[in-house]
């Protein structure tokens, strides 16, 4: 081999290393970005919390806070008059908020009159967000002026007229539940239809024009961009649900139907491939025993297709979790805390879209959701691998 050729070879080889290095680099950057930005917000509260904060307003019954002098270092600023410490922070949407870091056990704020429901009492808790403190004798202390100003105002005043506070908000429980609903509902539609269609193709379809036509129609579905499915949902499925009096606009039923159509080709293809990998000898044996086709399908073909159907399910779940464009149209972009199947709501992926297109966009929360999605997708990937391992094992004859 000549010198120049050797150099050329090394060069080309290097390029292939570079090419794949580039792919790997991108994946790494993606992961690092998502994890480093998203990890900060990951907490139990993120999963269980409301997206929309709950607001309260109360008036302390007394101004006395006996023995409220503290010597410990507290986060933020401390008011010994009211026995609470406040600090500046950001909520999950990246907005400036004032949070409670400490409430003394004798604090009058533990026993406030609920100004919205006069006969009840409410109390301020650590991690609550104080939005405003109004007084009788001076201007209200607002969030925009910061925790130190707020404490200062409180210490100066003899009496608080009203203290408004809220829970943190920004939780993704609603989107999580919508995602789960959507997974359940669209699988309930797509799996039976998809599997039965796959059975038709693999077990019954005669070789003719009609079969080819049907098959090519379904293949074409794969190439349709998801945003187009969104349009289909608007023109077909939402009107259907409205006509059936299930809903008045965008809703989960329509979302599930749209999603089911998106999933159909995946389910059909995956199932059919598994059905085809089942040796014909099983079918022949069954038929030769006097079983009819229905029995053969039910007892021999389907049980063996189970890993394939599981694979299809995993792929479908992955697709549902990642879908955004279609659902923006069919399900809407409004984040809901109480999910109703006949109303609009957002899935996790659409939640990312919503917070990214909000003003200002919230990369942290978006990354946290993306983090969750990636983890789920990773698990699904492993599931798919495991299933194909099972299929191989089964067909190699070791059950």
């Amino acid at each position: 081999m000549g010198k120049p050729q050797k150099v050329k070879d090394i060069f080309m080889k290097t390029i292939t290393y570079l090419g794949s290095g580039f792919s790997l680099l991108f994946l790494t950057i993606t992961m690092i970005f998502i994890f480093s930005n998203g990890f900060g917000l990951i907490s139990f509260g993120l999963f269980t919390g409301d997206y929309h904060a709950k607001y309260y307003a109360g008036r302390p019954a007394s101004v006395e806070c006996e023995g409220c002098e503290v010597t410990d270092e507290l986060k933020g600023y401390y008011s010994s008059v009211y026995g609470i410490a406040l600090y500046d922070d950001f909520d999950r949407a990246g907005n400036v908020v004032i949070k409670v870091s400490y409430v003394h056990e004798n604090s009058p704020l533990l026993n406030m009159l609920d100004t919205n429901n006069p006969n009840q009492s409410i109390s301020l808790k650590v991690d609550d967000v104080v939005t405003r403190v109004a007084f009788f004798d001076q201007p209200s202390a607002l969030t925009r002026n910061g925790a130190s100003m707020m404490i200062q105002s409180m210490d100066q005043s003899t009496e608080i007229r009203e203290l408004t506070f809220s829970t943190l908000g920004g939780g993704i429980r609603g989107s999580l539940i919508t995602t789960l609903y959507l997974i359940g509902m669209s699988l309930a539609l797509a799996l039976p239809i998809g599997i039965l269609t796959a059975i038709y193709f693999s077990e019954f379809a005669p070789v003719n024009r009609l079969t080819n036509l049907l098959r090519s129609f379904i293949e074409t579905l794969t190439g349709v961009p998801s945003i187009i499915y969104g349009l289909l949902g608007i023109t077909l499925f939402i009107p259907i649900t409205v006509r059936l009096n299930l809903s008045q606009g965008a809703n989960l039923f329509a979302g599930a139907m749209t999603m089911a159509v998106i999933l159909l080709p995946v389910v059909i293809r995956t199932t059919e491939e598994t059905l085809k990998s089942i040796p014909n000898s099983y079918r022949h044996a069954s038929l030769a025993l006097g079983a009819n086709y229905t029995q053969t399908v039910k007892k021999v073909v389907l049980p063996n297709a189970l890993p394939g159907i599981m694979t299809a399910t995993f792929l479908a779940v992955g697709r549902i979790i990642g879908e955004s464009a279609a659902l923006i149209f069919v399900l809407g972009t409004a984040v809901k805390d109480t999910v109703r199947v006949n109303e609009s709501s957002t899935t996790l992926a659409v939640h990312i879209w919503t917070v990214m297109t909000d003003e200002p966009s919230n990369i942290e929360l978006a990354s946290s959701i993306a983090f969750i999605i990636l983890i789920i997708v990773l698990i699904l990937n492993i599931g798919v691998k495991y299933m194909s391992y099972l299929i191989n094992k089964k067909l190699r004859g070791v059950v």
């Binding site: 969030t143 925009r144 606009g249 909000d358």
Partner: protein, 285 residues
């Protein structure tokens, strides 16, 4: 790396449907450009405040405008005609680059139920209260002066003592007011039997269109609509008691923090936007 004043200013503007753009162009005496991009120098037209803010955090030579409500310290807000863009200056009426925030209710005989109507009126009472004003101020707009607290008028709105969680109050209109409107809704709900609030903001024009205009009876119809500009034309052919102002909003010209410019006149801004000034040098001189 210092500021290179020989660079061309990169001009950002909202698109022609924006109320902020309308207020801004009229405020700098360039009203013709409110709905006509071709009068402006080449630049970036965007659909939202946020994009302009973001651009200004990274575009050293950028200039744009947002409402005072959206201003934060990631960018620099420029003095207008020598007056600093602050709440105080808006209240004492020295800062001129401002616009009113308006609201519109459905017509008096056009409510789907008496309850909703009463709740809506309770809401208006709330937003005019000191408590409502605090919320508006906290969001950076400038509330109109008030002399009563919500608590003192609560009993005149008995509807708010019951449980309203099955009712939905629908808000719409200007998206410049969205943050304020959402904050008001959130604080109002627990004060009025946990009424459900829905904020769907699509632009000032829809304040009228969806409460008393041609879309009021469609699914997008609203109970209360906000506009970030004075009502005009057809919109004024509505009963006076269905309209009102809730606040002033100041529009702020923003630039990158590294930009040495501190103050601009209406004329200077207009020249930048029309392309008469070609570099920052021209402005600084």
């Amino acid at each position: 790396d210092g500021f290179d004043s020989s660079q061309r200013p990169s001009v950002y503007t909202r698109d022609t449907t924006s109320g902020t753009r309308d207020g801004f162009m009229k405020g700098i005496g360039f009203g013709d450009a409110a709905a006509n991009d071709s009068l402006l120098v080449d630049g970036f037209a965007t659909r939202d405040n946020n994009a302009i803010m973001q651009a200004m955090t990274i575009d050293e030579y950028g200039i744009g405008y947002i409402s005072l409500a959206s201003l934060n310290d990631t960018v620099k807000g420029v003095n207008f005609n020598g007056v600093e863009p602050t709440v105080e200056n808006v209240i004492n009426d020295t800062y001129d680059l401002k616009r009113p925030f308006m609201y519109m209710l459905r017509a008096n005989d056009d409510w789907e139920s008496q309850e909703i109507k009463e709740i809506a009126h309770a809401f208006i009472a709330f937003l005019h209260s000191i408590d409502g004003g605090d919320i508006i101020n906290d969001q950076g707009a400038v509330a109109l002066p008030s002399n009563y607290t919500w608590e003192s008028v609560r009993d005149t709105h008995p509807i708010c003592q019951g449980d309203n969680s099955a009712l939905t109050l629908r808000f719409g209109g200007s998206d410049s007011i969205q943050r304020i409107a959402e904050a008001l809704s959130a604080e109002f709900s627990p004060r009025c039997g946990n009424v459900v609030t829905e904020n769907d903001h699509t632009g000032s024009g829809d304040a009228f269109r969806r409460t008393q205009g041609d879309q009021k009876d469609q699914v997008v119809g609203k109970h209360i609509g906000y506009a970030s500009r004075p009502f005009r034309g057809d919109e004024l052919n509505t009963p006076d008691d269905t309209r009102g102002q809730l606040a002033w909003d100041a529009i702020v010209v923003i630039i990158h923090k590294d930009n040495p410019v501190d103050s601009l006149t209406a004329e200077q801004i207009k020249r930048i936007y029309s392309g008469e000034y070609e570099t920052w040098e021209d402005v600084i001189e």
